[in-house]
């Protein structure tokens, strides 16, 4: 057997052995230590965790008679078992990857040795790592963070959608079970759920379309207004009108909530002052919807305005001069030069904002909290979006499984739009053109 084969075989047998065979002592020992830890984990721990993930526990909590006394015995906690199982699975996958890389490394170094090259010392190996695999080296910290704080929680949430983890089945008192697609079919077929889901989904879409279109058109119009050649103090107008964007939206929303207060808020006071009747801004289903759209315009128009203004300044003057020479009027110039130019450059923004608005939690939650309550809905109000409903279901009602189902639906909606738009952007198509 060749030396590279031997090294690879040894490394397959036990991590680090191949490296030791290649006379890379420090590296070999480090690998060996990691390998032993890995084996311990695989042999003694992994099985329990996987078993937990599959069964979600078998012993419920309960009272057991011990002699004459009844004792409370803690059973399996299904949710912790699930999380631990997932973590273990993730760790096992990473370990397996490490193992494969270890074999590959032993093989390659062995091959180099066969050609008469001296294997790298530990220091050289580190330098090689920085030189050759810099991308992996710097990607490692963000990757670990994302794996454990983003991917893992998401996987957990997705799995929850396939269990019956919802009030009244809550650990540690009860065991949670896998129920496959039950929650999805309930969401669509069971009257209480389907009615709420349909209603909330409908409003979510209407909201996303209206919120996006109003801020977009508003922003472009304001930008055009300021950009007129005859308007003076352009910089002043721009700075003043960007203020709503600069104020943290959490603060301005809470302030707005008080401004629109039916009884004491300033808006109704002023309406009364002018002899008009105040409006039920936040308490009537229809007006509450109007209010959230209006407030959203206040917050969203500045961004579009700024971006559209940027586009307007880049439209070449001679286009307009040529149009003037042809005798085009103001309306024609707007219709055939300004509008297409602005639309073309800001179209990706439009799609991004639409996706963002579907998930626009803050506006609804802080302004109306989804209210006024709709008695025909399951834990939702007239202005609730899918996201705010999800939040209420999970945190106020402990309906975790249904919340996860909604999360998956939201993902599917957003994903459809995003993929459609992303594949059309320049940065995707022309990825490698720059370099």
């Amino acid at each position: 057997m060749s030396s590279k084969g031997k090294a690879a075989a040894l490394s397959t047998l036990l991590m680090g052995l191949g490296q030791l065979y290649n006379r890379q002592w420090l590296k070999g020992l480090l690998f060996l230590a990691a390998g032993l830890l890995g084996i311990y984990f695989f042999v003694f721990e992994l099985y329990d965790y996987i078993w937990g993930l599959i069964t979600l526990g078998e012993t419920p909590s309960g009272f057991v008679k011990v002699g004459k006394l009844t004792k409370m015995v803690e059973g399996d906690h299904s949710i912790f078992m699930m999380i631990k199982g997932l973590v273990a699975l993730l760790a096992a996958l990473l370990m397996a990857l490490y193992y494969a890389l270890n074999i590959r490394d032993a093989y390659l170094v062995g091959a180099a040795r066969a050609e008469g090259k001296r294997p790298h010392t530990f220091k050289q190996s580190l330098v090689m790592l920085e030189q050759k695999h810099f991308a992996y080296l710097v990607l490692l910290p963000p990757f670990i963070a994302i794996a454990f704080l983003s991917v893992l929680p998401l996987l957990f949430s997705i799995l929850i959608a396939f269990t019956n983890y919802a009030d009244p089945i809550l650990p540690p008192a009860n065991l949670v079970d896998w129920v496959a697609f039950d929650n999805f079919s309930k969401m669509i077929n069971m009257k209480v759920w389907s009615k709420t889901f349909g209603g909330v989904l409908q409003w979510t879409i209407i909201w996303a379309v209206l919120a996006t279109v109003t801020t977009y058109i508003g922003g472009v119009l304001v930008a055009i207004l300021i950009h007129q050649p005859a308007i003076r103090f352009k910089k002043f107008w721009r700075t003043v009108l960007i203020i709503p964007f600069a104020i943290p939206n959490m603060v301005s929303l809470l302030v707005m909530r008080n401004m629109f207060n039916n009884q004491f808020g300033p808006i109704n006071s002023y309406l009364n002052f002018f002899g008009l009747k105040g409006l039920p801004w936040l308490t009537d289903p229809f007006w509450a919807k109007v209010t959230v759209i209006l407030v959203n315009m206040w917050m969203g128009i500045p961004i579009t305005m700024i971006l559209a203004f940027g586009v307007l300044t880049t439209i070449p003057r001679d286009l307009y001069e040529a149009a003037d020479a042809d005798g085009a009027g103001a309306i024609h110039k707007f219709r055939y030069i300004t509008l297409p130019m602005v639309l073309f450059s800001t179209a990706p923004l439009l799609i991004m904002q639409f996706a963002g608005n579907i998930n626009n939690f803050n506006v609804i939650y802080l302004l109306t909290n989804g209210e006024p309550v709709n008695i025909h809905y399951q834990f939702a109000g007239h202005t609730d979006l899918l996201v705010t409903w999800l939040y209420k279901l999970a945190l106020n009602q402990s309906q975790f499984s249904f919340a996860s189902v909604i999360g998956i639906f939201i993902f599917m909606i957003v994903a459809t739009f995003s993929i459609w738009s992303y594949t059309r952007t320049r940065s995707y198509k022309e990825e490698d053109m720059i370099q």
Partner: protein, 277 residues
């Protein structure tokens, strides 16, 4: 005829702009004036209060835990920005510059992660932290914010790095500089606009987030400003409105000033994000 219609058009434009200006600044003015008026009720019969007082600001510091919350917020926002910006730079630089195995997969992973509503992961993180008994810790918040920062900003940052010519690095590499050296002494100084944008976004996100912070921070002395403010409104808005008003003004001032001063970077970043996807 023509000139008079142009005049009218101009006058109407100025009129509309003035109205818009009033609408834009009204809420800010109103809340500032409310924070300065006497009494504690939401209702006021005049726009400008009859009497001015700083009592609510004094109360804020003496009767609530506002100063503690302020320090907590600064700590969380500062470290989230620091760690988040670094992780973001590393990740986006690697993706922009190197053609490694698994690069496309990484890009797709980021894309997919962006599409899930943030709350879905939040609840799971809550259970996870609970299991590790890390609840009520600022570091849990910091880690989650920094990680979130990578996911939300990676495409803007990558797009920015794509525009830096590769020849700059190649020259330095030929001179024998290591990748890390190139990164720190060439790339980072060149990415100041993007760095400003990203860190401002992360700072702002950590500064104003109340949802996740509310979930994680269990005791009053661990709270951040946003959580404190939110609690103030949800628990006692009608009775202590003016106190809330002064709190809101103090939260808004640092972020608003940052935004206005760094406007240029912000707009550049947003433009890049909007056109690069």
């Amino acid at each position: 005829m023509r000139s008079s219609s142009a005049k009218w058009k101009l006058r109407t434009s100025y009129f509309i702009l003035s109205v818009l200006t009033v609408i834009s600044v009204f809420p800010a003015l109103w809340i500032i004036l409310s924070s300065l008026k006497t009494g504690n009720s939401l209702y006021s019969d005049t726009f400008i209060p009859r009497e001015f007082t700083f009592q609510h600001y004094i109360d804020l510091f003496e009767k609530t835990m506002y100063p503690v919350w302020f320090l907590n917020t600064l700590k969380v926002a500062f470290f989230s920005t620091l760690i988040g910006t670094f992780l973001l730079l590393f990740a986006s630089y690697a993706i922009s510059r190197f053609r490694f195995v698994g690069r496309k997969t990484t890009l797709k992973l980021f894309l997919v992660l962006q599409m899930f509503p943030g709350f879905m992961a939040m609840i799971a993180i809550f259970v996870l932290l609970n299991a590790m008994s890390l609840l009520n810790s600022h570091w849990a918040l910091i880690l989650v914010y920094s990680t979130g920062a990578i996911i939300t900003n990676v495409f803007v940052a990558k797009g920015f790095f794509d525009t830096i010519p590769k020849s700059l690095e190649d020259a330095a590499r030929i001179d024998g500089a290591s990748h890390l050296k190139v990164f720190f002494s060439i790339i980072i100084p060149l990415s100041k606009p993007m760095l400003t944008y990203a860190s401002l976004m992360i700072f702002n996100g950590a500064f104003v987030d109340f949802i996740f912070a509310d979930l994680i921070l269990r005791t009053e002395e661990q709270r951040t400003l946003a959580v404190g403010l939110y609690k103030m409104v949800s628990q006692r808005n009608s009775t202590e409105f003016t106190l809330f008003a002064s709190g809101a003004v103090l939260v808004a001032i640092p972020v608003t000033l940052l935004f206005l001063f760094l406007q240029r970077f912000l707009i550049e970043g947003l433009t890049a994000g909007a056109t690069k996807g």
